[in-house]
């Protein structure tokens, strides 16, 4: 046979040595997944080193959506920065508002009215449901099941309707503000909310039937991308990713902030296969556990909201003057449980109305760091499964 001449395309990584020429061996290929790829949930770019379908290395590259959010925070008064926090984790705007508001309130020492606390909590939990619905739907999409996505968006749409009735916005709410919430609830809001909960809770069982316990879905996600509890703690993972690894850590329960200590709810954690409601092939810390923690958390949020509706007090919804707050020469770091994990805000004041330093600790940013650790040695089709189960929002990773 004639000699073979390897002509390479400029963009192909050739790992070519003369010794192995006669060998039957596949070539390693560098491949860009993203920033424009349907499964990377935004503009994440993962550089994959592949051997056929096998992934040898997957390195996340971030920064495509960087908007200097922290620097903006150092040039604006706190109430003005609230809209920017919406745009960090744009799927959980309420929670982001809440985190920054709490940080400022604790720094300044503002007493938030009781009613505002309840309203905040209801909205935070509603937003948690909405955010998990997106995570659930897009995860189905990543696995090739299109229909759950539409169902979850149908349900989320109703939550957004509720939000819209309260604050006029459907994505970037800026509703929870320093000192409370900027408007009181509209008439009959709680009745509609209760009606929605009655509608929504049975739907979760339907989703489980459609997707969670689907044989193919379990095959695709069980024992894929396993993060051990030690790894999860070691990489500072938080939120459902941490709880999926079997670590019972939820800030709402562990170090309750605001009024979370007044409610009864459970913290779902990843369980080994064969436990109640868990397929046999599931391993603690795999994609299925992370996914299932989110589904169960939606039910727990419903439970919290139901209790909050019963306890809802009357009174003012805002502590009073919000503008031109003098920030003391002090610093504060506050973490709350965002749908994706622990969202922390570090704020340092210098006596003026504008913070000297604002720093955010984003859960998505920390969670995505483990991608290379679990994303090596798996198959190409597992990468969307892992990325989807970590559930990142690029707006918050890049800030």
């Amino acid at each position: 046979m004639a000699t073979t001449v390897i002509e390479t395309r400029p963009d192909v990584l050739i790992d070519f040595d003369k010794e192995s020429q006669g060998d039957v061996r596949t070539e390693e290929m560098l491949i860009n997944m993203g920033p424009q790829h349907p499964a990377t949930h935004g503009v994440l770019r993962v550089v994959l080193r592949t051997d056929g379908e096998l992934i040898l290395e997957s390195v996340p590259h971030i920064g495509y959506l960087h908007r200097c959010a922290e620097k903006i925070g150092e040039n604006l008064q706190p109430y003005q920065f609230i809209p920017y926090t919406d745009r960090m984790d744009y799927l959980a705007g309420m929670n982001n508002n809440q985190a920054y508001a709490i940080a400022i309130e604790q720094l300044v020492g503002i007493e938030v009215p009781e009613r505002a606390l309840y309203i905040r909590m209801i909205f935070a939990e509603l937003n948690r449901i909405a955010s998990h619905l997106v995570a659930f739907g897009t995860y189905g999409l990543d696995m090739g099941a299109f229909t759950p996505f539409l169902y979850s968006f149908r349900e989320r749409e109703m939550i957004l309707d509720l939000f819209e009735s309260a604050c006029g916005a459907r994505l970037t709410y800026s509703y929870i503000n320093v000192g409370g919430v900027h408007d009181d609830l509209p008439d009959k809001f709680l009745d509609v909310l209760l009606e929605y909960l009655d509608y929504f809770e049975p739907k979760v069982a339907e989703y489980n039937q459609l997707l969670s316990y689907n044989h193919i879905f379990v095959k695709r996600t069980a024992n894929v991308g396993v993060i051990s509890a030690a790894d999860a703690v070691g990489w500072a993972l938080t939120g459902p990713v941490l709880r999926g690894s079997g670590v019972n850590w939820d800030l709402r329960k562990s170090t309750p902030y605001e009024i979370y200590d007044r409610f009864e709810f459970d913290v779902p954690v990843g369980l080994p296969g064969g436990s109640e409601g868990v397929p046999q092939s599931v391993v603690v810390g795999d994609c299925w556990c992370r996914y299932m923690v989110r589904v169960l958390e939606m039910l727990q949020s419903c439970r919290i909201i139901r209790q909050a509706i019963k306890q809802m007090p009357d009174g003012p919804h805002l502590a009073g003057k919000l503008k031109n707050l003098k920030l003391p020469d002090d610093e504060i770091y506050v973490e709350i449980e965002n749908p994706r994990g622990q969202l922390g805000f570090y704020v340092r004041g210098d006596g003026s109305t504008i913070p000297a330093r604002v720093k955010a600790r984003g859960p998505s940013f920390c969670n995505i760091s483990i991608l290379n650790h679990v994303g090596s040695g798996c198959l190409l089709a597992d990468i969307p499964a892992i990325v989807g189960s970590i559930d990142i929002v690029m707006g918050e990773v890049d800030r």
Partner: protein, 221 residues
């Protein structure tokens, strides 16, 4: 008129049903005699049926098709030799095999033609491309010849050409008798399981051995 327009869908749906009924009805002509088009089925032990398919294509059309596909076969065979890109070679090979299959069909050898298509064009070739893409250093492999190899190849080609040419010119070809040229699947099967049973079984065992050997080699890393 307006009322009529309001119910146009209903009316048309009714007409549609009627049309469907007519359409289906015309297909029920089970007892529709057509001796010219449908040969009798093969009865065991009987002589082969008349070659009904062949007569359908007039000689002119047949020769036109023969020249078209013969030309395609030659062209793609030449292309197979002169292409340097492996996948292009495979594409040329596909057209060569496909044209050969069409020639078989023109000769009335339907079974052979279909088998040629499914085994070579559909199966083997795809495996070949797959193998090239999967196991080589790069999917973008090209062949390049040294002059010495070209000379050697040319020598082999010339010898082969003269050998074939001599054979073609000296052989006394059997003249077509104009009958019994197509063989049915049933006859094929019967021949394979009676007259040619031993070669058939030997070939099967050999393939089995090859398969086991391949599996063994693949497991050895």
């Amino acid at each position: 008129m307006k009322t009529l327009m309001r119910y146009d869908k209903t009316i048309l749906a009714g007409l549609l049903l009627a049309a469907m009924a007519c359409c289906s009805a015309s297909a029920v002509a089970q007892d529709y005699p057509d001796p010219k088009e449908r040969p009798e089925r093969v009865v065991e032990g009987e002589a082969v049926p008349q070659d009904a398919y062949r007569s359908e294509v007039t000689p002119v059309v047949e020769s036109v098709l023969f020249y078209i596909f013969g030309g395609a076969l030659l062209l793609s065979a030449v292309g197979l030799c002169i292409c340097r890109d492996v996948v292009r070679m495979a594409t040329c090979l596909f057209f060569t095999l496909g044209s050969a299959a069409v020639l078989y069909l023109l000769l009335g050898a339907f079974f052979l033609g279909a088998i040629q298509l499914i085994v070579y064009a559909g199966g083997t070739l795809i495996l070949l491309v797959f193998g090239v893409m999967l196991t080589n250093k790069s999917p973008w492999v090209r062949f390049d010849c040294k002059p010495a190899e070209m000379i050697a190849a040319a020598g082999v080609a010339i010898v082969l050409f003269f050998g074939l040419a001599t054979m073609l010119t000296t052989t006394e070809w059997a003249q077509s008798t104009g009958e019994a040229r197509s063989t049915t699947v049933a006859q094929f099967g019967k021949a394979l399981l009676t007259t040619y049973l031993v070669p058939f079984e030997v070939a099967s065992v050999m393939l089995l051995v090859v398969m086991i050997a391949a599996a063994y080699m693949a497991r050895q890393e």
